[in-house]
């Protein structure tokens, strides 16, 4: 048992740092960005892709870098420390693996490079109004008509659909059979006639998610992944995949250290004592720090297990639960740090005016509201506990 990273790993870490120093300058390291420009994002994605680092989890043959789990961990850590954009999960973590695992050669050729390089921006068509955690209740239908499917229905919680070129969809291709045997996995060009995207504005004014309506949308049959009515298998594969980084430890650490900086910045407090000297505030910080430690080493243990050949299992549910709890606690701490300036709605609607309060207060409340989603999406934390009860405790 040994905590030290090998010399090779440390060299690897240095390589990442050098790259980031060059390509992700200090002035961009400003904390988490909830809204960012499409073009800016794509530029960053392409830069990583050009370096061959955009898809750490992909097999080498499809464009992955062929890293060990430890290298992946180091890469994620350094990316978080530098506060880069996240890599688009829809492309890299979701549809990509489904394509290289289940698609035919032609589809791979057609979609994988564009997915890797973000020439296609994907969005996810899973959830529907009325089906949240319960995917078996999907109702969007695809009816075969010659060499097309005609798709009717609607999807919801579709993250960044407003930017997307394509959507990967779960659709019902056999309305008689039960869910597990009637769902197919379809790729749909967002420019196809009959598709409408309606923004959903969430608390704090964020436009992250959308409803996507499909009305007589004609999709060529060659866009079907794998076999008809076998989509359930691919969907479940996708949900289990790419759980690494699910805990978000590094992002949490960075966010917490930003709050510590602010709470220690004498210029913000003037004659008043700095917040960091408040016993109760210090206590909250220390408790989060210590909990993050436990989470980080739980993640490292899971990683070591993976390295030793055990695939990611229900343990990732533990990481998801604790990771999201910590993200939420930190986001609430930001509200406490902001004090009265948590109240003004200082972004979006009012345009580009200077905010009344200090910079760190601008996103405080909106961030807290936004983070509520983390315990809801990707299988709510209640669902995660159900999974652990069944899969680990055998209850």
């Amino acid at each position: 048992m040994d905590l030290a990273f090998t010399k090779e790993n440390e060299e690897f870490r240095q390589e990442i740092r050098d790259f980031l120093d060059e390509n992700w300058p200090e002035e961009k390291r400003t904390g988490e960005v909830t809204e960012f420009g499409r073009d800016e994002y794509i530029a960053w994605h392409k830069k990583l892709a050009a370096k061959g680092w955009v898809a750490p989890s992909w097999p080498k043959e499809y464009g992955g870098p062929g890293w060990t789990p430890t290298q992946k961990y180091i890469f994620a850590e350094e990316m978080a420390k530098a506060e880069t954009f996240n890599v688009l999960p829809f492309n890299i973590g979701m549809v990509g693996p489904v394509i290289y695992t289940f698609a035919n050669e032609e589809q791979k050729k057609r979609f994988l490079p564009a997915t890797l390089n973000c020439d296609i921006w994907w969005c996810q068509g899973y959830s529907e109004p009325g089906s949240g955690s319960d995917l078996a209740s999907l109702r969007t239908k695809a009816v075969r008509d010659g060499d097309h499917y005609v798709v009717n229905g609607s999807k919801t919680w579709t993250t960044l659909a407003q930017h997307a070129d394509w959507i990967f969809c779960l659709v019902k291709t056999d309305s008689e059979a039960k869910a597990q045997e009637s769902i197919s996995f379809l790729l749909i060009d967002m420019k196809t006639p009959g598709i409408t995207v309606r923004p959903i504005i969430t608390m704090g004014g964020d436009h992250e998610v959308n409803e996507v309506f499909l009305e007589d949308v004609r999709v060529p049959v060659e866009n079907l992944i794998g076999e008809e009515n076998k989509g359930w298998t691919y969907a479940k594969f996708l949900l289990m995949h790419e759980r690494s980084g699910i805990a978000g430890t590094h992002v949490c650490k960075k966010a917490l250290s930003r709050l510590r900086e602010v709470a220690s910045d004498k210029s913000l407090y003037g004659d008043a004592p700095i917040l960091m000297d408040d016993a109760e505030f210090r206590r909250k910080v220390s408790e989060i720090e210590m909990d993050l430690m436990a989470l980080e080493y739980t993640e490292l243990r899971a990683l070591a297990g993976e390295e030793a050949g055990k695939g990611p299992g229900a343990e990732s549910s533990i990481l998801k639960i604790r990771g999201t709890e910590l993200q939420q606690r930190i986001s609430h701490l930001a509200v406490e740090v902001a004090g009265y300036y948590a109240m003004p709605f200082q972004r979006g609607l009012t345009g580009n005016e200077t905010p009344s309060g200090p910079e760190h207060t601008v996103d405080a409340a909106a961030g807290y509201f936004n983070k509520r989603k983390t315990s809801i999406y990707g299988g709510s934390n209640e669902i995660q506990r159900n999974i652990i009860a069944k899969a680990i405790l055998g209850l």
Binding site: S133, I200, A272, V335, Y340
Partner: protein, 375 residues
């Protein structure tokens, strides 16, 4: 000892409740907060007509002579309706200060509040004060019979829509001295007054007020020069009592909306209200709501105690508020799933408002400390 309401109180409750039902539904509210002004003068006129705006004032000001329990009844209903009109800064805080100091300003302004003519903005916070009411940097320098005001007051409730602002300013001593703080009434349109207007994240109107060589006269001084802190503390404690009542309305609504939603919402072939884990979570929401109610009652009934006792109890009330709105709010959103996150659902707005109530007048941590200093 009893917890009964008077007939008059029940009447107020019913009339506001009916008003919300008939004229202030969720869609109306959303339209109001999306409007340029961010509030509705018609609603305000209705409130005046219903008598709400004169409830707490003494009869000498044509008020109804009501007390803290009357305010509680009103605020609970305003909380249930999630109403954004400036009852708190104008009637409770502005009116509270004026009632406290009396004098000519009270005689002139209170009747205008009561009739709905006058909106008051209330500002005692500053960029670096956090929740310490004694931390006052903005200054009022005496100059003959007038004062010259300079500085910035942060997050002044109601400022963008106010006719008059009531602000705390330093007339003597150092930044964090308890002595030397004075209250002034300032015309919102006076020369040298700039208001950085914004909506709060829960749809109310507020703004930072910047004072640059603003001239007022000694007639605009409220109460004795340099002795305002005890009054500010008392009136903000009244504010705490008022928002505690609002919070009890907010928590009740969130619990109600959540039980209703989970009964409707089907997953895995059954209403999700059938899952035991969610049931127990809703039970805990109910318990937090009941505790909020108990503490709001207690707060209202203790407002006239000796300042030390009053502060201690009102701090306990505010701590409960912080806990109850956070628990009920987070649970409500979690149990609504993604739906609860959207601005289309009323529950999201109760949650956002509840969160801001925790910030207002000092969050739970601030009041735990105040409580401990008195325990």
């Amino acid at each position: 000892m009893d917890f009964l309401f008077t007939e008059e109180q029940d009447m107020f409750r019913d009339s506001i409740s009916r008003y919300v039902r008939e004229k202030y539904d969720f869609e109306t509210r959303q339209k109001i907060i999306a409007s340029t002004d961010g509030w509705s003068k018609e609603v305000w006129a209705d409130f005046a007509e219903m008598g709400l705006l004169s409830v707490p004032f003494a009869e000498e000001y044509d008020g109804l002579g009501g007390g803290a329990v009357d305010i509680m009844v009103i605020m609970e209903e305003l909380g249930k309706g999630n109403i954004v009109e400036p009852f708190l800064p104008t009637v409770v805080l502005g009116g509270g200060v004026l009632s406290e100091v009396g004098g000519d300003q009270a005689k002139t302004l209170i009747p205008q509040i009561a009739t709905g003519e006058l909106i008051v903005g209330f500002g005692v916070a500053e960029p670096r004060s956090r929740f310490d009411l004694f931390h006052v940097e903005a200054s009022a320098k005496k100059d003959g019979d007038s004062y010259v005001l300079n500085g910035r007051k942060a997050v002044v409730l109601g400022a963008p829509i106010a006719d008059k602002l009531i602000l705390s300013l330093r007339t003597g001593g150092n930044t964090r001295d308890e002595d030397g703080i004075s209250l002034f009434v300032v015309d919102a349109k006076a020369e040298g007054v700039t208001i950085e207007s914004y909506s709060t994240i829960d749809g109310h109107r507020a703004g930072d007020v910047i004072l640059e060589d603003v001239k007022v006269t000694s007639a605009d001084l409220l109460g004795e020069e340099g002795k305002a802190l005890p009054i500010i503390e008392k009136v903000t404690d009244q504010g705490i009592s008022a928002i505690a009542a609002e919070a009890m309305g907010v928590c009740r609504k969130m619990t109600e909306l959540t039980t209703a939603y989970t009964r409707e919402r089907k997953q895995f072939g059954t209403a999700i209200s059938n899952f035991q884990v969610l049931q127990h979570r809703m039970v805990d929401m109910l318990i937090h709501t009941e505790e909020m109610i108990s503490m709001a009652y207690l707060g209202a009934l203790k407002l006239d105690e000796h300042p030390d006792e009053r502060k201690k109890i009102l701090s306990a009330v505010k701590v409960q508020l912080g806990k109850s709105v956070k628990f009920c709010g987070e649970s409500a959103i979690q149990l609504h799933g993604g739906m609860g996150m959207t601005e289309e659902m009323a529950v999201a707005h109760y949650f956002m408002h509840g969160t801001m109530l925790d910030v207002m007048f000092g969050n739970a941590d601030h009041h735990r400390k105040r409580y401990e200093s008195l325990m």
